[in-house]
């Protein structure tokens, strides 16, 4: 049996070639234009918070930046992944690739890693932009303080501003934003292997995203028991079992206000995210390996 015909054959070189190609394809689709939108949002909110924010301008700026990073990375992953398989089928690239000694397992992995590369680069660029705007706002705040405070009180106030602006804790928070986007992309890939149209994949992914954020409430209600009707209990249990708890990855809200993220907790969440990605990818592979093309 040819090595590539084995559904689980693995060649890092072939996977990398596919991932690289997918990444280049996505870049050529000019997906980075979304960064302009992100920049407008961040710079706009930076100006906006100066005018309208109520005593808390840096906090608002951080929340807007991290929230925007979260939604843009998710949307980018969703839209890129939902189109991967339908596009390759439509322009026949998929058949050309699979006719070569490339297994479906390698093909799916290559495609997904391509999206992951794109997400990683996008989050990195967004983080740099965000840090830049935050640094400018920090300098403006310090300059404002220097005008209004005496030399005696200035160092303490400046230290307070600095501590409220950049926290090393933001880094693991951003990594978890990236991980959530990667998880959502893998889920979208799973849906895309089941679906026949990308519109269906996108819509279902959005619903899964929304359900994933309330899954925790359903799970806790299910585990607590309570007096719900049997039908409702079945629904809640189904929701808790089938969907991932995306709320577990939303730790930046608390990090932004100064809550320290313990290293162990970070690795636990990251490991859990990795496990989700692995399981959903293997399910996607299971579906794709037997799919009529």
């Amino acid at each position: 049996m040819n090595q590539a015909q084995n559904p689980l054959s693995l060649s890092l070189r072939r996977i990398w070639a596919l991932a690289h190609n997918t990444f280049l394809e996505l870049v050529r689709l000019k997906v980075f234009y979304f960064l302009l939108l992100f920049a407008f949002l961040i710079i706009g909110s930076s100006l906006f918070t100066v005018q309208f924010s109520f005593q808390n301008p840096l906090q608002v700026l951080k929340d807007v930046g991290l929230g925007a990073m979260s939604i843009f990375s998710w949307l980018l992953g969703l839209l890129c992944t939902a189109n991967l398989l339908p596009k390759d089928m439509e322009d026949r690239t998929l058949y050309t690739i699979l006719a070569k000694p490339v297994s479906r397992f390698e093909y799916l992995q290559g495609k997904l890693y391509g999206v992951f590369l794109l997400l990683g680069l996008s989050v990195l660029l967004m983080s740099l932009l965000f840090a830049g705007v935050l640094a400018i706002r920090e300098q403006q705040e310090i300059a404002e303080l220097a005008r209004n405070l005496s030399a005696e009180n200035l160092p303490a106030a400046v230290a307070e501003i600095r501590a409220a602006t950049f926290q090393m804790n933001l880094l693991p928070g951003v990594v978890l934003i990236l991980l959530k986007a990667m998880l959502c992309s893998t889920l979208t890939l799973l849906l895309s292997t089941l679906a026949t149209s990308s519109v269906f994949t996108v819509l279902t992914s959005v619903v899964v995203y929304l359900i994933g954020h309330v899954q925790g409430i359903a799970r806790e209600a299910w585990l607590a028991g309570g007096q719900a009707s049997p039908l409702l209990k079945v629904l809640i249990a189904g929701m808790a079992l089938a969907f991932p708890d995306l709320q577990l990855f939303n730790v930046v809200d608390e990090i932004a206000v100064g809550t320290a993220l313990p290293a162990l907790l970070f690795w636990q969440v990251a490991g859990f995210g990795g496990m989700y990605i692995l399981v959903y990818f293997l399910l996607a592979q299971l579906v794709f390996s037997t799919r009529e093309l």
Binding site: V60, V64, I71, G216, E220, D245, E254, V257, T259
Partner: protein
């Protein structure tokens, strides 16, 4: 069909394993101060349908900021009840933001309550104005206490509670306890221990305790020997009839620069 059933079965199997892990992770996160927000019916009313969905979809902090900005508009128009509701919703969405609790308490216990006291046009009866004033002081206190449930290690919130008891409640015993608690928290400011002692000195029957605290602060050295502290110490030594030899400010070996040596 078989494939779909197989996938559903695998998902359910994985679901059983992951549910326990998710529950464990949530518990760990909550104990570390994460995922403490609650989305009550009142919060939903303040956010509206879209905002509520956004808050549920991972944009909780953004929604809290939005409510905070709206509370700012309510403040500009002195719409205190509306401001209170908006601040409540904002603090529920972002309970780990100490500044939200701090400012919410301040606007209620000081701004709104003061406004009630002076609101002669709407309420000519002084007694009723006083009742309204105290109601807002209570709301401010409730904000601080709720904030401390979520941020028990916040020196700022304990300090504000001490200030509220001291300035708005005229309750030096509770003020002293709150200042003392604030002083024990990480990042506490240096004057908090002095404030705890000053307030304790106002409590009837606590003279000896207050004296001991002031004395130990005085003996720490020059940075603590501020005019207020020395004055109170002297008064208490007189009041408690402390023997001359034990009085710190008259001790011959007292460091130079103290009132006694001066």
């Amino acid at each position: 069909m078989r494939k779909a059933l197989c996938i559903l079965g695998l998902l359910a199997g994985f679901g059983c394993l992951k549910t326990a892990a998710e529950h464990y992770l949530l518990t760990v996160q909550r104990s570390a101060g994460f995922q403490l927000a609650t989305l009550s019916g009142q919060t939903r009313t303040q956010l509206g349908q879209t905002g509520f969905v956004a808050a549920l979809s991972g944009f909780r902090a953004l929604m809290a900021d939005l409510l905070w900005i709206r509370a700012g508009s309510a403040f500009d128009r002195t719409e205190w009840p509306r401001m209170q509701m908006l601040l409540h919703a904002a603090t529920q969405l972002q309970p780990r933001a100490v500044v939200f609790w701090e400012m919410a308490h301040f606007h209620m216990a000081y701004d709104a309550s003061h406004s009630m006291r002076l609101n002669v046009r709407q309420q000519p009866a002084a007694a009723l104005r006083r009742v309204a004033e105290l109601e807002y002081v209570q709301i401010g206190e409730d904000f601080l206490k709720a904030g401390l449930v979520f941020n028990p290690e916040s020196a700022t919130l304990w300090q504000r509670l001490g200030e509220l008891y001291s300035r708005r409640r005229d309750d030096p015993a509770r003020a002293s306890a709150a200042y003392a608690e604030a002083a024990r928290k990480p990042g506490a400011l240096g004057f908090l221990r002095r404030m705890a002692a000053y307030e304790l000195a106002k409590v009837p029957g606590k003279d000896r305790e207050a004296y001991e605290q002031l004395r130990s602060l005085y003996l720490e050295g020059e940075p603590q020997r501020l005019p207020n502290l020395v004055r109170l110490l002297r008064q208490l030594e007189e009041k408690l009839a402390v023997p001359e030899a034990e009085r710190v400010y008259t001790t011959p070996s007292a460091p130079s620069g103290t009132p006694a040596s001066r």
